[in-house]
């Protein structure tokens, strides 16, 4: 059975570090699916319910979901040292790789072909990010007020380029009010 009796704890900080490094390095265009696979299915450090609970909690807080997840998983098994090690595992190797890429590109950036290639990647990235927003937004179809809030955030920050802090605070407050009043429905 997949019950708690078959769960185990990471043996050492080293194992924690290596596991988070490995799953982060597999995560092209999204680390989360790999995190679920590694932590729940392969390592069996958490049950799927525990994983979802930590993820949901991390989504309430500022910061990237996967980094928040690493902090909480690390803390659970090894306290603050575990949190630090798991976060370092999540970010260390990918940071080295991405800086190596930027450095390599810096050497080539005078070349028009290289600049063109990265400009093309940038245009594609923009399309991917907008498509991601639309996919996530599909969940709002049954919540018209949610669509209105999304459109408001997009227009104020994206099109009109208003500063983020007042827009975020204002719209979030409005959103919480609307969601709270509609919670029984």
């Amino acid at each position: 059975m997949s019950g708690a009796e078959s769960l185990r704890a990471p043996a050492s900080l080293g194992e924690l570090f290596l596991a988070f490094s490995a799953l982060a390095l597999k995560g092209f265009g999204g680390v989360l699916p790999w995190a679920q696979r590694a932590i729940v299915e392969e390592k069996r450090w958490l049950s799927n319910e525990e994983f979802v609970e930590l993820l949901a909690f991390g989504q309430l807080l500022p910061g990237p979901n996967v980094c928040n997840l690493a902090i909480m998983v690390g803390d659970r098994f090894f306290g603050w040292r575990g949190a630090l090690v798991a976060l370092a595992g999540m970010l260390g190797m990918p940071a080295v790789i991405v800086i190596a890429m930027a450095w390599g590109y810096g050497q080539l950036a005078a070349h028009p072909l290289a600049r063109g290639a990265v400009a093309g990647m940038g245009a594609v990235s923009a399309g991917l990010i907008i498509a991601m927003a639309f996919r996530l937004g599909a969940t709002l179809r049954r919540w018209p007020a949610g669509l209105f809030l999304s459109a408001g955030a997009f227009v104020l920050v994206g099109v009109l380029r208003w500063p983020l802090p007042p827009v975020l605070i204002g719209l979030s407050g409005l959103a919480i009010l609307i969601a709270w009043r509609g919670r029984a429905a």
Partner: protein, 176 residues
């Protein structure tokens, strides 16, 4: 870069960390506003390049912030930006986890989560819009963005293929 500018950069990314309830990418329009429009530490092209390179690399997409710092001031900039974007939110997460992760199932917590998601979605779309740079870019680039949007929304193509195709198309456009 002067120590004062580095401190300003640290403060900016630390504030973005506190505001990143929808993920770091959702704060990128504000980063663009501050780094490109207000301070002029980067131009639009460099900003977009940082995001493009981070998208093509493995790992959490928050690393685009590391690259923004790298573009602004090399290794020191990369460290300052990364520390700024990570430390505040990580400390909050650590403290909140110690306090109680079970709060996630309280009614108010569920309401907050439901409420924040549309705002985060709108901000993510805004990030894509700012990166596409409607004002700055030519027709070819806008067409590439639009085509990618349709393919990524309507098909299950691996994004890495689309990024690779974008590199080829961009190099081709630069050579003709």
């Amino acid at each position: 870069m002067s120590g004062q500018s580095l401190l300003q950069m640290l403060g900016h990314f630390a504030l973005m960390s506190l505001l990143s309830v929808g993920g770091a990418l959702a704060t990128s329009p504000e980063m663009h506003r501050f780094l490109v429009d207000a301070q002029g530490w980067l131009d639009h092209r460099q900003f977009t390049e940082a995001i493009a390179l981070a998208q093509a690399a493995p790992g959490p997409n928050i690393l685009f912030v590391t690259l923004l710092g790298w573009q602004i001031d090399g290794a020191i900039g990369a460290v300052v930006a990364t520390v700024g974007i990570l430390v505040p939110s990580s400390l909050i997460t650590f403290a909140a986890h110690r306090f109680s992760a079970r709060l996630a199932h309280r009614p108010l917590a569920q309401v907050i989560r439901k409420a924040l998601s549309p705002v985060a979605i709108g901000l993510t779309a805004a990030a894509g819009w700012v990166i596409a740079g409607a004002q700055e870019q030519g027709g070819f680039s806008m067409g590439l963005t639009a085509l990618t949007f349709v393919l990524a929304w309507r098909t299950r193509l691996n994004p890495l293929w689309l990024i690779a195709a974008g590199a080829v198309a961009g190099a081709w456009a630069a050579s003709v």
